[in-house]
């Protein structure tokens, strides 16, 4: 009997996860007992690899939906987007937590991660990055906390958060702006090392703008994944609107990128038969041009599949861009070839899997996706939209409680 349920629970994805967990535990053990050299292909010539390029740079970028949607709803008061607030803030919060997990692997002395709090060097971009991670993770925890308080039925903390909601969102947007761009600024210091197609004084701007684009794309992506997994989906009209926003953001990004190449006189690099050139075309073609075309045509945008596919392209293009800046673009000047070891890859995959898992768990246990398609003629719809906000207002679950005024 018990055996049977156990077998039943061993679905395909669970076995994949168990396998990843096994590899991950082995790698973790080696990492902390024998050092980074035992598990990574990093070297003195190539000190930053997959964990920085993917886990940190992409992890932070993919969390960008959190601040864009929060600003849209709270600051610009575009209420329509309320239903997607929670999933994006959850993604951002999880993203940042996982970035910290990745840092615990990548830092040579993870036990000293707190040093930046008391040992300051304001001239270092990494110092800025460290503070942004610390502060913004805190802000995200606070922004997400109402979802948990609500579940627990804690009224008081809910009201406290409500009282500081707007300053919290403003601080969050500012920190995100700084953090997203500062990840690009990290590479300003290597003008002679990073390949000309990617090195630019505008790196911080590129990182910021592309993060906004990918933040929207992630929201679309999650919505579709959640629909497949739990049958919970956001309004398609909203997602289409997001698709239109992506077009605008990507067009601005494209203009900046092309203008930058022109201004720096590096356009000729596009004609050289090199791996870098092909990867650059792939990054820009797949992640920028194609999604612009697909999403700009209203007929195409109407299709769920096209919308989802375009979002996926934007995400993949974004990942490729970050890997190009951090790995491909640095390869030639380093003089060595770097490809991540299977152990590096296993940790990265495990972190991604944990992200998916925790997200799924949260969707099951908490109110993350709010049904918005209310029955015709019902006044429920507006109520439920309110429920999706940072703080539920007028709380229907607690009749008689003090109404929290907006």
């Amino acid at each position: 009997m018990e055996m049977k349920t156990l077998v039943k629970k061993l679905t395909f994805w669970r076995s994949v996860f168990a396998l990843l967990l096994g590899f991950g535990i082995y790698t973790t053990y080696l990492r902390y007992t024998h050092g980074l050299g035992a598990v990574t292909n990093l070297s003195d010539e190539f000190p930053w690899g997959l964990w920085i390029g993917f886990d940190i740079l992409c992890g932070v970028g993919l969390a960008a939906g959190g601040f864009t949607i929060a600003a849209t709803v709270y600051i610009f008061d575009i209420k329509r987007f309320r239903p997607i607030l929670r999933p994006t803030i959850l993604t951002a919060f999880l993203g940042y937590l996982l970035v910290i997990v990745a840092l615990m692997f990548d830092l040579g002395r993870p036990d000293r991660i707190w040093h930046a709090i008391i040992m300051w060097n304001p001239h270092s971009v990494m110092f800025e990055v460290a503070w942004c991670v610390m502060l913004y993770t805190t802000v995200l925890a606070l922004e997400f906390s109402p979802v948990v308080f609500e579940k627990l039925g804690w009224e008081k903390p809910l009201r406290w958060i409500k009282a500081v909601a707007i300053p919290l969102v403003i601080v969050g947007v500012l920190l995100s702006t700084l953090h997203q761009s500062s990840l690009g600024s990290l590479y300003l210091i290597v003008p002679d090392k990073l390949y000309g197609l990617w090195y630019s004084p505008l790196l911080p701007v590129f990182f910021f703008v592309s993060a906004i684009g990918v933040g929207c794309a992630m929201t679309i992506f999650e919505s579709f994944m959640s629909f497949r997994a739990f049958g919970k989906r956001l309004e398609t009209d909203l997602l289409r609107d997001l698709g239109r926003v992506i077009v605008v953001v990507l067009l601005a990004y494209l203009a900046l990128k092309v203008g930058d190449l022109l201004y720096r006189g590096k356009l000729s690099l596009l004609g050289q038969a090199k791996t870098e050139t092909y990867l650059y075309y792939l990054e820009m073609g797949m992640g920028v041009l194609l999604p612009i075309v697909l999403l700009a045509v209203p007929k195409l945008r109407k299709s769920y599949n096209v919308l989802f596919f375009s979002a996926l392209l934007v995400i993949l293009g974004f990942i490729l861009n970050r890997l190009n800046v951090s790995i491909t673009g640095m390869a030639v000047s380093s003089g060595v070839e770097y490809f991540p070891s299977w152990m590096e890859i296993s940790i990265t995959m495990l972190i991604v899997a944990v992200g998916f898992g925790v997200f799924a768990l949260a969707v099951k246990k908490l109110v993350i996706f709010v049904e918005t398609e209310a029955p015709e003629g019902s006044h429920l719809s507006s109520l439920q939209i309110d429920e999706a906000s940072l703080v539920r207002e007028p709380a229907p679950r607690y009749p008689g409680s003090v109404a929290i005024e907006q």
């Binding site: 902390y32 007992t33 024998h34 050092g35 980074l36 050299g37 035992a38 990093l42 070297s43 003195d44 010539e45 000190p47 930053w48 600003a71 709270y74 600051i75 610009f76 008061d77 990548d106 830092l107 040579g108 002395r109 993870p110 000293r112 991660i113 040093h115 930046a116 040992m119 300051w120 060097n121 304001p122 001239h123 270092s124 971009v125 990494m126 110092f127 800025e128 990055v129 460290a130 707007i166 403003i170 947007v173 500012l174 702006t177 700084l178 761009s181 500062s182 600024s185 990290l186 300003l188 210091i189 290597v190 003008p191 002679d192 090392k193 004084p201 911080p204 380093s334 003089g335 907006q406």
Partner: protein, 259 residues
């Protein structure tokens, strides 16, 4: 103390390795000859087409590594050496990523690793002694002194023996100048030196971006607050109008009932 410097005259180096031996002894590093800079070799002699090139940390005037270190574990001393405080280091390896000369090395096989590089024997210099490697050099291929005097000596050598030297002092202006200077008889590019390197101090590149933070925060904060104020005001007005309308309606029904 005046700013110090080492001059490495590549034409005089016989590749005996005495510098490395002395360095290892001074810094308590494991014995054994090494050909590449490593966490156990702060200086090495690389042979390039029969030419002996001694490598060590360049001790930049505006060190990139010191500027990028988030916890200030690397500092430039006033008299030249760029020194490292391992107790502060968190192991982010940004110094290695940023160093234009690919100098810092890492203890990859240590579970509590440190960055490793030449410290220009800062303690010996403070005691008025030359670095151990210079003291050990039997041919005078490495000399040590005040940076301006060392530069003068380098210029004198180039000037007096123009056919023996390339007319260039490597390190005089690279990334804003370094405390280790080189003279060579063959072009520096062919010896593996990076010749297309920026002449400006690299820390300026990030400093420029970092200096924009206060204005981004201020302008961003004002903008976001301003937009919120406007949208919030609109909402309040709307609410008030609704309430007024409700009151009017109520009054109307009231009067209807009266009639």
């Amino acid at each position: 103390m005046k700013k110090k410097a080492i001059l490495v005259d590549i034409t005089k180096c016989i590749g005996c390795g005495a510098c490395q031996l002395a360095c290892k002894a001074k810094n308590g590093l494991p014995e054994g000859e090494e050909q590449k800079l490593s966490s156990t070799a702060y200086t090495v002699i690389e042979e390039k087409d029969g030419v002996n090139v001694r490598r060590l940390c360049m001790h930049c005037e505006s060190p990139t590594c010191a500027s990028v270190c988030p916890v200030g574990a690397i500092q430039k001393t006033s008299y030249g050496p760029v020194v490292y405080t391992p107790d502060k280091c968190i192991g982010c390896r940004y110094c290695m990523q940023a160093c234009p000369f690919q100098v810092p090395r890492y203890e990859w096989d240590n579970s509590t690793p440190k960055m490793q590089k030449c410290n220009l024997c800062y303690d010996r210099i403070a005691d008025g002694l030359p670095p151990a490697c210079v003291e050990a050099c039997p041919t005078g291929a490495s000399i040590f002194g005040d940076r301006d005097e060392i530069l003068q000596e380098a210029r004198r050598r180039i000037h007096e023996n123009p056919d023996q030297y390339v007319q260039y002092i490597y390190g005089e202006s690279e990334v804003g100048g370094t405390s280790v200077l080189y003279l060579s008889s063959v072009p520096f590019g062919s010896l593996g030196f990076k010749t297309d390197i920026s002449k400006e101090p690299l820390p300026m590149l990030t400093l420029e971006a970092l200096s924009k933070i206060p204005s981004v925060v201020f302008a961003g904060g004002v903008f976001l607050y301003g937009v919120w104020w406007i949208t919030n005001r609109r909402k309040e007005v709307r609410k008030l109008e609704e309430r007024l309308k409700a009151m009017e309606d109520e009054e109307e029904t009231h009067q209807k009932f009266k009639v």
